[in-house]
Amino acid sequence: MSSQLLAVEDVYRFFGGLTALSNVSFVVMPQTTLGVIGPNGAGKTTLFNLITGVIPCSQGKIFFKGQQISSLEDYEIARLGVSRTFQKVQLFHHLNVLQNIMVGAQIQRRSDFLNTVIPGKRMAEKERILRRSLEILKLIGLEHKAHFAPENLPIGEQKLLEIGRSLATDPKLLLLDEPAAGLNDYEIEMLEQIIFRTRQLGITILLVEHRMGLVMRVSDRIIVLNYGKKIADGTPKEIQQDSAVIAAYLGEKA
């Protein structure tokens, strides 16, 4: 039980009269990738919002590294090591590419207040942040566009930047919300490479995606949501053969 990185227990989310999620439970083991799929409106982004603390659970609990996070604020959860990207790219348009990553790199852990006050440590901290940001910049292949404004990047690079920003926070769990949406095949290849690299770094990934090929290749396990309920939970192979899943998608293909 305690080796689970993320545990979602009997989670419900109501919006007025609408039930967005009901009785959703699953676990994620460390250093694995969990795919989350389902038809549009199934509640996938809502699930992400619950895990990252953007909205509260109506019922149920969420545990991260054994600690209950369902009652924590979103920024507190981020500081514990949970980071995410958004369905519609949400970059900081008042900052350039490098600075976007720096926001991630400068995330506060525990209380490093001392690091910000003692002059010697401050310089060291600044250098660490810059160094890490440049590393990430290189990882996502944008080192030549460090001073660009994010909106001047093509959408594929914007998505990579968003992932880079999250990686800079040194997360244990990374939630990717439809990273492949709107990308062409070449950009999806780049994305896959980054995802594999992220897995190599030992980061656990939660991936919401519609591109079935990508999900099946990248995930260790997959859960399927439909109308707010979990209808399947298994390996990619099992999911592909699950009749309930096929019915839900009415024969949708990748």
């Binding site: 953007v54 604020e73 979103d74 920024y75 949400q90 970059l91 008042h94 926001v103």
Partner: protein, 324 residues
């Protein structure tokens, strides 16, 4: 260390300019301009603080002028009615302002956004104006309050020139402080919060705390400037801190350029100097300033200074071949 050298060079030039201007003006018989420079420096401090809140953090508050007034009236009342020393009065007025800002910040800023925040701060400013006029026994009402001259540990600042040096040094100090802070972690967090608050929170930034912090910091500039203003003018009246001036601040900030730290100073200069050099234009002033703001927002949204800085950056980037 290149940065440090640049800072020292810049500071030396700035300080030199500050010292040299008054004797120069006296030489060419334009000493009365020194008084105008004092006003520009004082408003400049207010604007620099305002830029932190509105330009960097993106919080649309119309309350800056009210805190300018709090500093002014705080100093006025404490030095005239209770004979506090001016420096002590300034400090106490500042503490009072910060306290009010703390309360207002929690009640208004954390709960309201965009247009609602603007409306609430507008209403707050109006209420403050009414309080100034509505309690004559305490605040002197519409007639105002007179102040003794400003003095620091016995050193009296009773002439335009002395005040000039005082406020210019202070404005310079505030400028250096602002410049440093916007490049810090905290400064970058403000810009992140401004761009996309939810994303900033998901990156671990406690945006509520940031909002309160930047609010208190920005009004501190205004409060201190207000105290200095009160002593320079030697009296305060409610009319000096009304909504009209709140709108003027916005004009100055956007015309000069948000997020440039010193751009507002140009806005201040334009709006302060215009009426001086053209008395006959006085009637045209509201129309011209409003129209100027509109034109700038449409064609040069970064303001005059902001656009110039962008232009420079572009040229520098192109000439060093790094492209953009």
């Amino acid at each position: 260390m290149n940065d440090l050298r640049k800072s020292i060079a810049f500071s030396s030039v700035a300080l030199l300019l500050i010292c040299v201007i008054p004797p120069f003006l006296q030489r060419i018989n334009y000493s009365y301009l020194i008084g105008i420079l004092v006003i520009i420096a004082i408003y400049g401090i207010v604007i620099m603080g305002y830029d932190l809140l509105l330009g960097f953090a993106g919080q649309l508050s119309f309350a800056q002028i009210a805190f300018f007034g709090m500093g002014a009236y705080g100093s006025a009342l404490m030095t005239s009615k209770y004979s506090f020393s001016p420096v002590l009065a300034l400090a106490l007025a500042l503490l009072f302002s910060m306290g009010i800002a703390f309360i207002v910040g929690h009640i208004i800023m954390l709960r309201l956004q965009h247009i609602y925040l603007a409306i609430a701060t507008l209403a707050f400013g109006e209420v403050f104006s009414r309080v100034l006029t509505g309690f004559p026994s305490f605040t002197g009402g519409a007639v105002g309050v007179f102040l003794p001259p400003f003095s620091v540990f016995g050193l009296k600042f009773d002439s335009d020139i002395k005040f000039y040096y005082l406020v210019c040094i202070m404005a310079f100090a505030f400028f250096m402080f602002s410049t440093n802070i916007v490049r810090s972690r905290w400064g970058i967090s403000l810009l992140a919060l401004n761009s996309d608050e939810q994303a900033a929170r998901c990156m671990g930034i406690n945006t509520s705390k940031c909002k309160i912090q930047v609010f208190i910091m920005s009004i501190s500039y205004a409060s201190i400037a207000g105290s200095l203003y009160a002593h320079f003018q030697k009296f305060v009246v409610p009319e000096q801190f009304s909504i009209v001036h709140s709108i003027e601040l916005i004009l100055m900030l956007f015309i000069g350029g948000t997020r440039t730290v010193w751009g507002g100073l140009i806005g201040v200069t334009i709006l302060q100097v215009l009426p001086e050099i053209s008395e006959w234009l006085a009637d045209y002033r509201p129309f011209v300033s409003g129209a100027l703001l509109i034109v700038i927002l449409i064609f040069m949204p970064k303001g005059i200074i902001g656009t110039l800085i962008e232009f420079w950056k572009d040229r520098w980037a192109k000439s060093s071949g790094s492209g953009k």
